[in-house]
């Protein structure tokens, strides 16, 4: 039985390579592989992880990573990243209109939320509807970009009914103001 002659095989391979390739060419190829390798992570899982880490570093909060864009009666709807109170969308109004019988406050606080649909940041006015009994449906508390009460301009726990006829709180809207970036 003929045994596998590793010595012979190695010699033939080396000689063939040496006959075809110059030393410089071999070194150049080896160098290129070494330099280029880190730019192409080899496993798809690794690539996906790297992409995720990049997105997190760029923008986003715990809220925005779990946010959705189709149901504005749920607390994780993207525009509600800083809302505190009852969603007007559950009370007969919408994200931008007060339920019948209540009035929009002329004052609000303005925060910003990332839309997961396009990963861009939008300014959102959290405007309360006032002058009717509290709606008490879909009560949410999210705090992105909200400040403590000693910075009341950006505090979401305040009843934002300044300037209306009544301070009775009904529900909160999340009115889109514009694209921030």
């Amino acid at each position: 039985m003929k045994r596998l002659d590793v010595d012979n095989l190695g010699e033939r391979l080396t000689r063939r390579l040496a006959g075809r390739l110059s030393r410089r060419s071999a070194l150049a190829r080896l160098g290129a592989v070494l330099v280029a390798a880190p730019a192409f992570p080899l496993l798809p899982v690794q690539r996906a992880r790297a992409a995720d880490a990049g997105a997190v570093a760029q923008q986003g909060t715990d809220f925005s990573r779990a946010a959705q864009t189709h149901d504005d009666t749920a607390c994780n709807y993207w525009r509600y990243c800083g809302i505190d109170g009852n969603l007007c969308s559950c009370c007969g109004g919408s994200t931008h209109s007060c339920p019948p019988g209540s009035q929009p406050s002329p004052t609000s606080w303005i925060g910003s939320c990332v839309n997961p649909g396009d990963q861009r940041s939008y300014l959102v006015a959290y405007r309360d509807c006032c002058g009717a009994k509290e709606c008490n449906k879909c009560s949410c508390l999210n705090t992105d970009h909200a400040m403590p009460i000693y910075r009341p301009q950006a505090n979401n726990h305040i009843i934002w009914c300044f300037g209306t006829q009544s301070f009775e709180y009904h529900c909160s809207m999340a009115v889109l103001v514009g694209l921030a970036e």
Binding site: T69, S108, L123, Q165, S166, V177, G178
Partner: protein
């Protein structure tokens, strides 16, 4: 079709889907692209003073077409930077200067001609905000500043709406009403 062309088509397709998703937001009115100075104004001031500078004028001063009048006097020019919520805002000296110039010369225009009617510089705003009006009764101080501004410029008549007798619109049901 080469691979590159195919890749471009796929990328444009994805872009189209993303744009459509934003435009189709339920209740979405046309979304405008905001300048950095507008973003700073809106997140620091616009909630109460109004997205377009139009507020509930007795509760919060209206800025639109009015703020420019404060530049009728050097005192008025200084006053609007030294208001505590302006001076102590979270904005940098550079951004606060941009916001002040935008609020005065764009939102609050016209600025009546006079020796105080020039744009703020960063150095000036940085100096003024280090002296916030925290040791003084702000309401009577504002009344005195406004009276002197109005004596100089007729366009400043509207500055008196804020600070006029508080109507039933503010905190009804509280001991103040």
């Amino acid at each position: 079709m080469s691979a590159r062309v195919a890749l471009r088509l796929v990328l444009f397709g994805l872009l189209g889907v993303a744009t459509a998703a934003a435009a189709n937001e339920p209740g979405g009115h046309p979304v405008s692209q905001l300048m950095p100075v507008q973003v700073a104004y809106l997140t620091s001031c616009g909630g109460c003073h109004g997205i377009e500078g139009i507020s509930a004028p007795r509760a919060v001063p209206t800025l639109r077409h009015l703020t420019g009048s404060f530049l009728c006097t050097p005192e008025g020019r200084q006053f609007i930077v030294r208001i505590p919520d302006v001076a102590l805002s979270n904005l940098s000296d550079q951004m606060l200067t941009r916001v002040m110039n935008w609020v005065v010369f764009d939102l609050g225009a016209p600025v009546p001609a006079g020796n105080a009617a020039r744009r703020y510089t960063v150095a000036e705003v940085a100096r003024l905000r280090r002296e916030p009006l925290t040791q003084t009764g702000l309401t009577p101080y504002r009344e005195r500043v406004v009276a002197r501004v109005q004596a100089r410029c007729a366009a400043a008549a509207g500055l008196s709406v804020y600070g006029a007798a508080y109507g039933p619109g503010v905190k009804s049901g509280s001991p103040k009403s």
